[in-house]
Symmetry: C2
């Protein structure tokens, strides 16, 4: 961060624009960071620390401007970017809220599977198992853990229109998801990410996926009721929380007869 902290007070007083000294970074600073970026960082910290929880409203723009000793326009730009990053949601006339995986119709955001007619179908989850074990070298690398660190493995089936369509293997760091059991999983109603958020304080911010076409191996084929060798969509996802820390590895096999993975290039 820059010399200009902007947390409680700027270098010299309120520092208005156009008449007194500007509040921005000191001139010729080698690492220049705009004020609104610093504000963005401070707001992110409050989000991460839980000062404002998912679904809650955050202080109004004028309040935040007073708190950080900057103009409303500056916190506006910071909030604009956080809203674009799906961390905040603005509602005109009401206020700005912390985004959540609950109410949101953010289901499709992470499971981009549509029926051939282009309609988003609902699905139900059938849990197969939930075990604790030690991370393989590969999983440890992807979760930024040490090999043989404890991890949780969840296996489940997703049914679309009553047909088994997706098989998921989900790895989570054991330290963060202490106390996660199959029973707690099956008791919870709603998306998995909503549970992670409300029960474990871990919010998924973004994810990357590697997609391939693979032949179903016998085990997977059996669970998905397709013949061995059947072409399946292999989706390998790594999800990240605040600070770009990886907190989930997910391997999915999708039956794409009657359904397709939708992607928008823009």
């Amino acid at each position: 961060m820059n010399s200009n902290q902007a947390s409680s007070a700027n270098p010299i007083g309120p520092a208005g624009a156009g008449e007194s000294a500007p509040p921005s970074a000191s001139s010729s600073s080698p690492t220049f960071s705009p004020l609104y970026q610093q504000i963005k960082g401070l707001i992110t910290q409050s989000l991460e620390s839980g000062e404002w929880k998912p679904g809650e409203i955050i202080p109004s723009e004028v309040e935040l401007a007073a708190r950080y000793k900057v103009s409303q326009g500056t916190v506006r730009k910071a909030i604009d970017e956080l809203a674009a990053d799906n961390l905040l949601v603005r509602r005109q006339g009401k206020g700005t809220f912390v985004a959540t995986h609950n109410e949101d119709r953010a289901q499709f955001r992470f499971l981009r599977l549509l029926a051939d007619d282009g309609v988003e179908h609902p699905h139900i989850s059938q849990l197969l198992e939930c075990r604790r074990l030690r991370a393989s070298a590969e999983i440890a690398r992807q979760l930024d853990l040490k090999p043989s660190d404890p991890v949780v493995l969840i296996k489940r089936l997703l049914q679309f229109d009553g047909e088994d369509t997706v098989l998921d293997e989900i790895w989570l760091p054991g330290g963060v998801f202490r106390g996660l059991t199959l029973e707690r999983l099956s008791d919870y109603k709603g998306p998995l990410y909503a549970m992670f958020e409300t029960e474990f304080g871990t919010r998924m911010i973004r994810a990357t996926e590697k997609i391939r076409a693979v032949a179903a191996d016998p085990t997977v084929a059996d669970l998905l009721h397709v013949p061995p060798g059947f072409p399946l969509l292999s989706v390998e996802r790594v999800s990240y929380t605040y600070g770009d820390r990886p907190v989930e590895v997910r391997r999915g096999w999708y039956v794409t007869t009657g359904y397709y993975y939708q992607n928008d290039l823009s």
Copy 2:
């Protein structure tokens, strides 16, 4: 568009803020559109009409503000959104430029295939054929044409590291791509979309893709040197130009051994 045209003059004079009448839309208008959205539309028109061509610089913010009789901040917000939509590119100190598929390292934007090591490998295109024929019902529907309207069909192979990896079938509306021949295609150096842009004035703005895992049929398998039934990634793309008009349908089969399709959920 709103009653407030903003093209040459606002309802009443320059209309500054804070003292005289505001320039924005008439009050209680049933269809309210912000000024900067209208400016965005006007700039888009100039882009579409070719007033500013791909790669060229557009007038500075102050010039555009004078031209449209609005403040610089308003055209700035319009340009901000157009830059976010990849229609314009801002370069600090130099100006704002019309985006292009040429120089841009916008290759990966539309062909999201990476090697297993995560590196983007270069590829070469081998043209198989280029024919003119009449649109099938399905293609006509997707290109918003009438059945049996003329279309161009291009087939090609993409080689990564010398290996045939992608087979593409590309349908284009015959009217727009008049004079497109295999010879012209093979003569052109560079990405296909760059050629469409410079030679036919058709710029691809966005695209949607439907992704499935399929078994290679004998013909495709032969061309890609895989056994029949081999799992391939099926990518069905529809590309759109200005005004969300579809101008390309592309069906691709990807061999995803050693390569994967990268997608970011954010």
